[in-house]
């Protein structure tokens, strides 16, 4: 039986002094190697759940466990996130003043490995996401699909256990969206990286090993 990588227990999140409920007693279990989908309409609390899972936001109630330990506890280690979680966002959040290769290398500033090793990792990932030929290109010269590939390579560079992807296909046309989903699927299957993805895409259902649907902060 697969081990649980991350688990929420009755997690709730309230905003504006409790007047807005973003998450309402959410319980999920993401197993190691899962391609986990979080679906639901806009404002249903999908992104909030992802942020809470990544430790970017704290739950108002309930608990989260990562690899069997309370997330709040493991987050006290300042190097936890860089070593365990990779993020991919809808808006990519790439640095325009850096080229493709430099953007991918950005998280490695925090990690003590040789320059040679850093370049080997980055070049390998750029090849994996199919953008090695544009390694020295400026971000502004890339298409939306290419930008998301760079963001995925950046998320993978620290060899995290889990990737949290927030609407990674939201800014892409259907063709590019499918290619990116296919890429995530390969990363999940071939590299064994657990993926938790927030998405609207119906087509994504085909790739998920399990998924939940949120409505007004509650799992349906």
């Amino acid at each position: 039986m697969n081990e649980v990588l991350i688990e929420t227990r009755d997690v709730s999140k309230y905003y504006k002094d409790g007047n807005v409920t973003a998450l309402n007693k959410v319980n999920i279990k993401v197993f190691k190697g899962d391609f986990f989908g979080i679906k639901g309409p806009s404002g249903s609390g999908k992104s909030t759940l992802l942020h809470v899972l990544g430790g970017l936001d704290t739950p108002s109630e309930g608990e989260i466990y990562f690899d069997g330990k309370p997330l709040a506890e493991v987050l006290r280690d300042s190097g936890f996130r860089i070593n365990n979680i990779g993020f991919v966002f809808q808006a990519f959040y790439l640095w325009r003043m850096l080229n493709v290769l430099e953007n991918v290398l950005l998280p490695l500033v925090e990690i003590r490995i040789t320059r040679k090793e850093k370049l080997e990792r980055a070049n390998g990932l750029l090849k994996l996401v199919g953008i090695a030929h544009r390694r020295y290109a400026r971000i502004n010269s890339l298409s939306m699909g290419e930008r998301q590939r760079v963001a995925i390579a950046r998320a993978l560079i620290t060899t995290p256990k889990m990737i949290l992807a927030d609407e990674p296909t939201g800014s892409l046309d259907s063709n590019n969206a499918e290619n990116i989903l296919e890429l995530f699927n390969r990363i999940n299957k071939d590299n064994g990286v657990t993926i938790v993805m927030v998405t609207h895409e119906k087509i994504a259902d085909d790739y998920f090993s399990q998924s939940v649907e949120l409505q007004d902060g509650k799992i349906q």
């Binding site: 936001d57 190097g79 979680i85 966002f89 850096l98 500033v109």
Partner: protein, 377 residues
């Protein structure tokens, strides 16, 4: 790809603002360099005047703030000579005279046979009679005088019989005549400005401790014997030199203001830069950059701005100092030498100012919560 690359890209990405900030910093640093440099130069010039001649003690009128105003009777000469431990003593009279509206020249009256005539390189000969004078190399250039020429002071004409080179810039820019002649010209017969004293040291050469003790003993004896006179060793004389002290105080006051301007300039630029990069910094924090790394990034940037401003400021400051040193009013009081120790000190101060200025923006940067950036998505 490392932190330095990211910092340099940040700086280069905002060229105009970085350039303007660096210029702002450099103007303040230049003001500090020029003012402090001038003061240090004056201090050094004055110190060399005494130290290069082996003078250990200076005897002057008691209670005056400025040695130029000192006036004491020359009759003390023999009495001071007889104080145990005094190797040599020479009376000296001096003051500033203007040969035209812009040029001030220091005029010395030295006693015939004074030890002050030693340790200078004389071309021609020293003055032997009241109608003769010798001119320092710098003064000769400024006054366009050479051996055989005449100089006129208060209607008295003196023949230039020699020129001399001194280690002291102050002396090099001076005219020297016999003491009695200057007393006559100034209408202060029998009066001198001060006595310069060489103390006999019984210790081995280079035994500074023993020499220092001998100087202290002679100083004490003179103070006891002549309570109406003030005796100072060269070090005390420098530190209690009121005009220099006032200039030093003014210099530091202006420097503090200049440093505050530097700090405010860099804080302003770096805070704006951090606020503009809220998204970038928020994402760095989201992907796992630790706070300390973000702090390093901001401090590194402000350090570079401080150092760049410092380097440009040092160059600018020395340009200002050299321009001032070439002005007729200051020629002869300031050398154009470069003090590498001082240059390194200023570079260090600029770096520290840069780092201090980066603290607030750095704290601002780590207060950026990634979730704030992501909620805008």
């Amino acid at each position: 790809m490392n932190l330095q690359t990211i910092v340099l890209r940040n700086i280069l990405n905002r060229k105009s603002r970085t350039t303007l900030t660096v210029l702002g910093v450099s103007v303040s640093i230049a003001a500090f360099v020029a003012l402090t440099g001038i003061t240090r130069n004056l201090e050094r010039t004055l110190k060399t005047t005494y130290e290069s001649r082996g003078t250990d003690l200076i005897v002057m009128e008691k209670g005056i703030v400025d040695i130029l105003s000192s006036s004491i009777s020359g009759s003390y000469l023999e009495k001071i000579k007889s104080v145990p431990g005094v190797e040599d003593v020479t009376p000296i009279l001096f003051g500033f005279y203007t040969f035209n509206l812009m040029q001030y020249v220091l005029i010395y009256g030295w006693e015939k046979g004074s030890y002050l005539f030693e340790e200078i390189r004389i071309t021609g000969r020293p003055p032997q009679n009241p109608n003769e004078a010798m001119v320092g190399g710098l003064a000769a250039n400024r006054l366009h005088k050479k051996i055989g020429d005449e100089i006129a002071m208060k209607g008295v004409k003196l023949s230039v019989v020699g020129t001399f080179q001194s280690k002291s810039l102050l002396e090099d820019g001076a005219v020297v005549m016999l003491l009695e002649r200057l007393q006559e010209i100034r209408q202060t017969p029998g009066k001198v400005t001060a006595f310069n004293i060489k103390v006999r040291s019984n210790g081995a050469p280079g035994n500074y401790k023993e020499a220092g003790r001998a100087i202290d003993e002679v100083q004490e004896r003179i103070e006891v014997l002549f309570p109406d006179l003030e005796v100072k060793n060269v070090q005390t004389f420098m530190s209690s030199n009121t005009p220099l002290f006032i200039i030093l105080g003014f210099t530091w006051a202006v420097s503090v203001i200049a440093f505050i301007i530097v700090i405010l300039g860099i804080v302003n630029t770096m805070t704006t830069s951090v606020l503009e990069r809220t998204e970038e910094i928020g994402i760095l924090r989201a992907i796992g950059w630790r706070n300390i790394k973000i702090i390093y990034m901001v401090l590194y940037e402000s350090l570079i701005i401080g150092l760049l401003g410092g380097i440009v400021g040092i160059v600018l400051g020395y340009v200002i100092m050299n321009v001032l040193a070439s002005r007729p009013q200051l020629e002869g009081f300031m050398s154009r030498s470069y003090d590498w120790g001082f240059i390194l000190l200023v570079a260090g101060i600029s770096g520290i100012l840069g780092l201090v200025s980066g603290l607030y923006p750095a704290m601002k940067a780590i207060s950026i919560e990634p979730i704030r950036v992501l909620r805008h998505e």
